[in-house]
């Protein structure tokens, strides 16, 4: 399964969120999309899954434009894990994961559907949660359930929007480890939007750095995570070293010059207010 983005552009009303994004994603690799807030990471994922319609350009899966694929068929090819996923009404974990079988189910649930759900729950180590309600679980457990739901679709491409943003370090490593594992053991390509550069560096085969809706750099973590790139895209001075895991490790040091001035100003203002509060208290 080969995914190609061809001159993809998307505007929210008149504001451009993506500009001429060209990209090729190969089979069985983990691609991380990184970039500052508002750089278009989530928009890019949504365009790939047709949740948003690009204004220009196309998303091609094995040469076929996704707009020519029926929504029901596309859901058997691409799975999407949104940033947050809660349900208003109570559903058990089993029922939620079973919803991932929706593209294959007309009305009744087959034996095979139940087997697939059971197997995925076991694979993610959450069989014990099967009868619990989704909204009663911790953030890390919920994230695993939602990943399980996407896997039940048996997709060839898995899109994840900041899969680790609400998780503690143990759950971060577990979830990303499982995802990395999947690209090795199953025919699955993974594209995920990430905030944490060091986690992205550790778990990705390839990284994509976005700046204001454009691709700034793409390639191996070593080639993308350089001090120059981080300074120019994030506006942050940093120090990049090679970690004990033989991956680039980013240590942010300080925002750029203008940022430092702002910080000074802010600290002056806050200290002024603090002293004012004290005099108020004295009254």
């Amino acid at each position: 399964m080969k995914l190609i983005l061809n001159k993809l552009s998307f505007n929210y009303n008149s504001i451009a969120a993506l500009k001429d994004v060209d990209l090729e994603v190969d089979l069985n690799e983990v691609l991380s999309i990184v970039g500052p807030n508002g750089s278009g990471k989530t928009t890019l994922l949504k365009c790939i899954d047709r949740i948003l319609k690009p204004n220009q350009g196309a998303v091609l899966i094995d040469g076929t434009d996704v707009t020519n694929i029926r929504l029901g068929e596309l859901s058997k090819i691409i799975g999407y894990v949104p940033q947050t996923s809660t349900s208003t009404f109570p559903f058990t974990v089993f029922d939620v994961v079973l919803m991932g079988r929706r593209p294959y189910i007309r009305w009744s649930v087959s034996e095979r559907d139940r087997e697939i759900v059971t197997e995925i729950l076991k694979f993610l180590g959450i069989s014990e949660l099967a009868a619990r309600h989704l909204n009663e679980l911790s953030g890390g457990e919920q994230q695993k359930v939602i990943v399980a739901r996407a896997l039940a679709q048996q997709p060839q491409i898995l899109l994840l929007d900041e899969p680790t943003s609400n998780l503690d370090i143990k759950h971060q490593l577990e979830v990303l480890g499982i995802i990395k594992d999947l690209t090795r053991t199953r025919q699955l390509s993974v594209i995920m939007a990430m905030h944490d550069l060091n986690l992205a560096s550790r778990f990705s085969d390839k990284m994509l750095l976005l700046k204001q809706g454009c691709i700034y750099a793409v390639g191996t973590p070593e080639s993308v995570l350089t001090e120059e790139n981080i300074e120019s895209v994030y506006g942050v001075k940093s120090h990049v070293t090679n970690s004990v895991l033989d991956r680039p490790q980013v240590t942010p040091i300080a925002p750029m010059a203008t940022g430092v001035e702002n910080l000074k100003m802010i600290s002056e203002i806050t200290s002024k207010y603090k002293s004012k509060d004290r005099t108020d208290d004295a009254d």
Partner: protein
Amino acid sequence: MSTASEVERLYAKGKRRKVLVILYASIALLIITVISVSLGAGSPRFMEAAQVILSRIFPFLEINPGSKITQIIILDIRLPRVVLAIIAGAGLAASGATMQGVLRNPLVSPYILGISAAAGFGAALAIVFRMGVLGAYSGYLVVVNAFMFSLLALSMVLSIARMRGITPETVILAGVAVSYLFSAMLSLIQYVAPEYDALRAVVFWLMGQLYVARWEDILIILPMVLAAIALMMRHSWDMNVMSLGEETAMSLGVNSRRVLVTCMALGAFATASIISFTGAIGFIGLVSPHIARMSIGSDHRFLLPCSIVLGACLLLCSDTLARLVLMPSEIPVGIITSLIGAPFFLYFLLSRRRRFWH
């Protein structure tokens, strides 16, 4: 540690429980039906009522059908009313469950789109001024007027919401606005109504009642409600998926906007065809889905049938009370549903440990 087979066993057990709950509720409904038919002024006994009904259903059994009077009381007066209560309760509950599901909001009732206010306005127009979409007077002037204005409210809400993009929020807000608009016009009619009798008729209509039931009306309502319910049930899986949010639904191949519009229209259609005859009966459409959800969970494949049976039970019980408490006079059933529904619902709400909506 639960093994794979343990997980599947739990799921099968849960499913069996849901089916059993629906089955028990249906049996309860059947019993309530016969009891309700045998209660009231000049009442035939329970066995006589059962005999009359059975002799009609199974004529070849040659059961003694009882006296002429008993037959008239049972077949022409009691039974149509009981059947109407069942259909109305079922339809309102199904619409409520569907609308709550697609709007992802537990506060939603079938009247969220302003249908009750619009139907009330249409009915008032017909009662007070004898004005209606049919023009001249006809036996169905009030009904047709109420129905047409309900559909007008529905199309207004959907076209307003479409301007800003169809989402649960835009649909609910547009519904609230349209509801206020029709309420205001309804109040205006009541204020300027020239005759006291007409005003009284409007107020009575607005409370909701089932004494109007006739077989020929039921033959109109039943197919419309049945068709709407069948189509709503077909969207059970879509509603399940949509409760995880619009984006997740899209990624699972469900066009959530289209499903939202379709299901709202179906619910509104079923509701409108009921309340055009009965007036807006409150509470059933809001409460039945909640009680069903608390009993068997949110899977709409089971939730809809369960809500339907519970809605029918609730409205039938309420209407039986409405007939009996002030005999020989009666109370509009809409008052009873809210009067006993509210504490009953609160009891359910407070006696459960789990939180059922977020």
